[in-house]
Symmetry: C2
Subunit: 339 residues, 2 copies
């Protein structure tokens, strides 16, 4: 198995990306092809000892910057690292792509290079959220700011597959993010999505309110990409700022410092649970291939974990499963029956 990694994408590219790729090949028994500026990548690679058979470099002369309009950039910059990564999959020289660059560009390049799965109108980005009892999958977290009810249903089906195949949940509980429990609650989009989800074959448990996301009531939580993106980033910011506030409180008292040291040593398990780097990346579900989108500030650990996620998606044939499931659930036997 070979994973294409966009060496030029992310706040700490190429340094942390190359380091992460080296860690990944050591840990996960796979090959990585680093895509981007050949000189810059080989300079970084020279710092490490690794099996030369497992890491190769493919040169790409361009980079898509964070401030470029993604839809235009992926069409214009055909030799950009992220576009080349997706081309490698198309040409069967790689099995998946990992990028910590512009989310819009990663999405655009995968849509352009891999295409959509038949039956999926809009791909969605799915993110793992830690809960009191384990983890849940929230989608869409940013691919689609505007959605139709049928999009939310398709997100639910893709989330169901992912939770089953990758998270190992036999019968995933699917919830719809909303502002009240009753099915009449929320805006039109959500009322209609609720109706469609209730009619589907999914294990739909109804609406999930904001305060229940981290409670572990649902395994898959579906929402539009605007709400999902705000929630994901708010959670990240709140957890970070709350931890900072706790530390500041503790610094005020010298006696408490001893206690704090003990506490923070013990709380490492918790820190690991709420650290996005542990999850590595969020899959873009609905495209015809495995595309993992990593956090812009990914370090080597996050990249190595994203490569692991990519590997699992390839092994568990996530794309094939979504293709089959969408056909059964939405298309039925007769394609005209499509919602």
């Amino acid at each position: 198995m070979k994973i294409a990694v966009d060496a030029m994408g992310g706040d700490y590219a190429p340094v942390e990306i190359v380091k992460g790729a080296v860690e990944a090949v050591k840990l996960h028994k796979l090959e990585v092809v680093l895509v981007g500026d050949h000189a810059a990548i080989t300079k970084e690679l020279a710092k490490y000892a690794y099996d030369k058979n497992l890491i190769s470099v493919v040169h790409a002369s361009e980079v898509i910057r964070m401030d470029e309009a993604p839809a235009v950039a992926v069409r214009k910059k055909r030799d950009s690292s992220i576009v080349v990564c997706n081309r490698l999959i198309k040409e069967e020289q790689a099995d998946a792509v990992v990028s910590a660059g512009s989310t819009g560009a990663a999405m655009g390049a995968s849509l352009l290079g891999l295409g959509r799965i038949k039956g999926i109108d809009r791909p969605a980005i799915a993110s793992i959220i830690p809960t009191l009892t384990g983890y849940c999958l929230l989608l869409d977290v940013g691919a689609n700011a505007e959605c139709k009810p049928v999009n939310l249903v398709q997100f639910a089906i893709m989330g169901h597959i992912y939770a089953k195949k990758i998270m190992g949940i036999a019968q995933p509980r699917v919830g719809l993010l909303n502002i009240g429990e009753e099915e009449s609650k929320g805006k039109e989009l959500y009322v209609e999505a609720h109706r469609l989800l209730k009619e589907s074959k999914l294990n739909f448990i109804g609406n999930i309110e904001g305060r229940d996301i981290t409670r572990g009531r649902a395994d898959v939580i579906v929402c539009d990409g605007f709400v999902g993106n705000v929630v994901l980033k708010f959670g990240e910011g709140l957890a970070r700022d709350l931890m900072w506030m706790i530390k500041q409180e503790l610094k005020k008292n010298i006696f408490v410092k001893v206690g704090a040291a003990l506490v923070f040593t013990q709380a490492k398990g918790l820190k690991k649970r709420i650290d996005y780097a542990e999850y590595g990346g969020a899959p873009l579900l609905g495209v015809n291939g495995i595309s993992i989108i990593s956090h812009g500030s990914s370090d080597a650990k996050a990249i190595a974990n994203a490569v692991r996620v990519a590997k699992e998606c390839v092994e568990k044939k996530v794309v094939d499963c979504i293709r089959d499931s969408i056909h059964e659930t939405i298309l039925g036997d007769d394609e005209d029956a499509r919602v």
Copy 2:
């Protein structure tokens, strides 16, 4: 000054509501009129020693339950506690209303009883959010699941007034919640609202991403009621569950328990900062009167604080200020120039 308190609204009504009213008259130099079942209220009042001149009871024979459709219920149940509270303001027998009952009913009863301020198409619920540097005001947090761009601009103006008058911020920084910093980001509603806010006289600082809400970059953050409600409840749930997870981690090690005890004693200041009961209630801005909506699970402390918030709003003439400001900012000299 006299504050009407809905004695029948909330998970712990009338017990905690009556207790909170007694605390409020002791702390805040004002009168409270408790509205609801006369027998139930007087039974609770009998438990306390208080100045009989400061607390009166007005009987209301009906209660609007959480599961009733609010718009219908406020029209049908004219003798419900929340409807009577608002009628008392209309009849100038009270200066403000506080309710921890159904948010929809509290909103509906205030809309029906008090009416809208001229120039405001949709009232909004504004909630205080603790940040690293102080507090910010988030609105709308649930009054309007669907919004138009002009609604968001009106929310911004009302938030500006509230931050200035009640939070004491001379020149409030107004931000628009969005999924990216660039003004082209987000959905149509937000792109258009951004354009209108940029043209306004407000101190508009642009888009605020989810991860920046608790950073303290903006004093007023504007969004539609669907997103705001999800964010508010998610923050409440996450803070609660994160604290629980920390405690669970600490329990695993007996040596750490000593440290934990020290830490949690010291962290009381922080707990106070993130405890919604400290803020008491969220004002419904845009109606022709002061209406404070409290959390459904309000205890006596939360109710006493909500009464304090109501008092401040009356003293600072928040309604008059919004009325004048909307006229200047939106209506201008010529009413036809209204956005």
